[in-house]
């Protein structure tokens, strides 16, 4: 079996809250099972690999998000086609916002997104900051949110889960994140996959299934990660 191609979107620009750790988690969870992976960093101007299996993108600073915004949006059609083709995508925070239709800033500017997910984000004056976790079909997702954009979901997506402790997408409707088929968006940093091993394996399983190589992922000892998740859930926001 050939290894998975893991695409890291803007690893330098969109990396502010340790989201690169998600890539490390996926890589190691493959390696520990004797499965190969190739990581392809994609920065401004670089081509997107046609054989991408999983595509990850993290959060950035507001200013940086502006720097890469045009490049990101120029890939909108390609990204939508990849999403329709079942490529597994995980966008955190800034990348999640750019997966959406648009971002309306506080001062009324409209920044176009890619429309990969049916969500829209508006800027606000308050930052939603703190520990957060949601229950999902792939186990408890545990992380830390830090964003001022408020995201509302359209009918074309489902929330990733209900927020139990945090503010979530917008601080109002108790939803966190969005999912459509194999595309996931979330505000959970942490990095989210570190303390949500079931979710990490779900992404890998879907990537193999899409290629027609369904695998039985050998179980790993995740007792530390689950213990760390349990601690995190019990900590103040």
């Amino acid at each position: 079996m050939t290894g998975l191609t893991l695409v890291h979107l803007y690893p330098r620009e969109m990396n502010i809250y340790g989201d690169t750790g998600n890539m490390l988690v996926l890589r190691k969870r493959l390696a520990w099972r004797g499965l190969d992976a190739t990581v392809v960093p994609v920065s401004v101007g670089d081509p997107l690999p046609a054989d991408a299996d999983i595509l990850l993108g993290g959060g950035g600073q507001d200013a940086t998000q502006g720097d890469i915004g045009a490049d990101f949006v120029s890939r909108a059609a390609t990204l939508r086609a990849m999403a329709d083709d079942g490529v597994v995508m995980l966008g955190i925070c800034g990348t999640y916002q750019l997966f959406g239709h648009e971002f309306l800033t506080k001062d009324g500017r409209r920044i176009a997104g890619t429309g990969v997910l049916d969500v829209t984000t508006t800027g606000s004056d308050t930052r939603l900051i703190g520990n957060n976790h949601v229950e999902s079909p792939w186990g408890r997702l545990v992380g830390f949110e830090n964003h001022s954009g408020l995201t509302r979901l359209g009918s074309g997506v489902q929330p990733l889960g209900r927020t139990l402790s945090g503010r979530g997408n917008n601080g109002e409707d108790a939803t966190e994140g969005a999912v459509r088929a194999n595309v996931f968006g979330t505000y959970l940093h942490g990095p989210v996959l570190a303390k949500s091993p079931g979710f990490a394996d779900e992404l890998l399983r879907r990537a193999f299934a899409r290629r027609g190589d369904p695998v039985e992922l050998a179980p790993l000892d995740d007792s530390l990660a689950l213990a760390a998740a349990e601690v995190a859930v019990g900590r103040p926001r």
């Binding site: 809250y17 190691k28 990095p191 530390l224 760390a228 103040p236």
Partner: protein, 424 residues
């Protein structure tokens, strides 16, 4: 400093508050300052304005405490210095220092104040008093759960620089700081490191893969070379003169801090030889590479707060050669609640085969262990209880061997107390 009758009341009040705290066995640095601040809001600016050589504010993300100690020690070669070295990294701590260093008759010999302030408190301080001098060390990602973004932090520092009246000394190797220079009312100067050392001191953007940028600003103090061992041997060019200095504060980052301290000292008229003598006399600051002798073992306590600082501190493992390493991560407000930053530090190359026994501790001991596991480092113990973890590490090593403890802010404070008790 002359006695002003109006100052006697606040000084007495502050001293009595401090006395009451001590008698009740507490060691607060904020309360006396708070009392004086509330009742006598003009006391602080009036006392500071009376200092012959004014106020030096030291701020930035990393290295504030050690650099403040360096500046205070260097300036102490020439002037009586007032400084907030009691760990009161805020305006009230400054007030407490003022009260403590004045006599009951209101006399203080201090001629210059060297104040460590974090970014947010520096802004608040500048609203009360416009400092004569400002030393800006760096802007790195740290406590983003408190400040939001690193660019926001840079803007905050810009406000402090704009309020400074005489000299602003900037790290020329940090582009976010260099960008603050245009339009400042004060005279701008720089410190820096030699181009061939630049890779050892990555800026925030460089840490995350950006190209290394060589500055072209002329610097009055430049770090030319650094050799790490049990002590740190550095060479500096200060006002054109080459100096060789042995620092007791460990790590390359402290060699860079020495250049910063030298540059600000020059603006106060100190000559290079006096600066060198001052740097030689600097001892490690509270919990920043301090050594404790516990049951014949050497325990070194290193504060870690953010990815850049953690990387710099991890480099000391190479020279300390520990037989055990403890990483203690708390997530109280002062530590930062977000654990994401642990994933911005690469541990394998610093610890693989060099750490000795490896233990994690603190409220997020499990998070730290997960992080190390993904760097393929074997963890020998996960014990959230701080004292227990350090005792275990000490028990695992032989006499004369070294235990290194990396600890976040509140974990460091707690362990400092524990280690002082263990030294007995």
């Amino acid at each position: 400093m002359d006695i002003r009758p109006a100052d006697l009341l606040p000084i007495w009040l502050g001293k009595l508050t401090l006395l009451a705290l001590r008698l009740s066995g507490r060691r607060g640095t904020a309360l006396p300052g708070l009392v004086v601040e509330k009742l006598f809001p003009r006391f602080l600016p009036r006392r500071l304005a009376a200092l012959r050589h004014g106020v030096v504010v030291v701020t930035g993300t990393n290295g504030k405490t050690t650099t403040t100690k360096m500046v205070a020690t260097v300036l102490g070669q020439r002037y009586p210095v007032l400084t907030n070295d009691t760990g009161g990294n805020f305006v009230r701590g400054v007030l407490t220092s003022l009260v403590m260093q004045s006599s009951w008759l209101g006399r203080s010999s201090a001629e210059v104040a060297v104040l460590e302030l974090d970014e947010a408190h520096a802004v608040r301080f500048c609203e009360v008093y416009q400092p004569e001098r400002l030393l800006l060390l760096n802007v790195l990602r740290d406590q983003l759960d408190r400040f939001g973004e690193i660019d926001t932090t840079a803007q905050i520092l810009g406000k402090v620089a704009a309020r400074t009246t005489e000299h602003v000394v900037l790290n020329r190797d940090d582009p976010r700081l260099v960008a603050l220079a245009p339009g400042l009312p004060a005279e701008v100067g720089y410190f820096g490191v030699a181009p061939e050392l630049r890779a050892m001191f990555p800026t925030d953007d460089e840490l995350y893969g950006g190209p290394v940028r060589i500055a072209d600003q002329p610097a009055s103090a430049v770090l030319e070379s650094v050799e790490l061992g049990l002590t740190t041997q550095v060479e500096l060019t200060v006002a054109g003169e080459r100096l060789a200095v042995e620092l007791r504060a460990e790590g390359a980052h402290n060699a860079q801090n020495a250049a910063a301290a030298a540059a600000i000292a020059l603006t106060l008229g100190l000559d290079p030889q006096t600066i060198a003598a001052g740097l030689l006399a600097v001892e490690p600051a509270f919990g920043r590479g301090q050594s404790f002798s516990v049951a014949g073992r050497r325990v070194v306590l290193q504060l870690v707060k953010n990815p850049a600082g953690f990387r710099q501190s991890l480099r000391t493992v190479e020279s300390l050669r520990p037989a055990a390493t403890v990483i203690a991560i708390n997530d109280d407000y002062a530590d930062g609640r977000d654990m994401s930053w642990l994933w911005d530090v690469e541990f394998a190359s610093f610890l693989q085969g060099k750490s000795g026994h490896l233990l994690t501790s603190g409220s997020r001991a499990a998070d730290m262990a997960v992080r190390l596991r993904y760097d393929e480092l074997a963890v020998d113990g996960v014990n959230p209880e701080l004292a227990g973890a350090v005792d275990e590490a000490v028990s695992l090593v032989k006499p004369d061997e070294t235990v290194v403890v990396f600890a976040t802010y509140t974990a460091m404070w707690h362990l400092h107390q524990v280690l002082e008790e263990r030294v007995g």
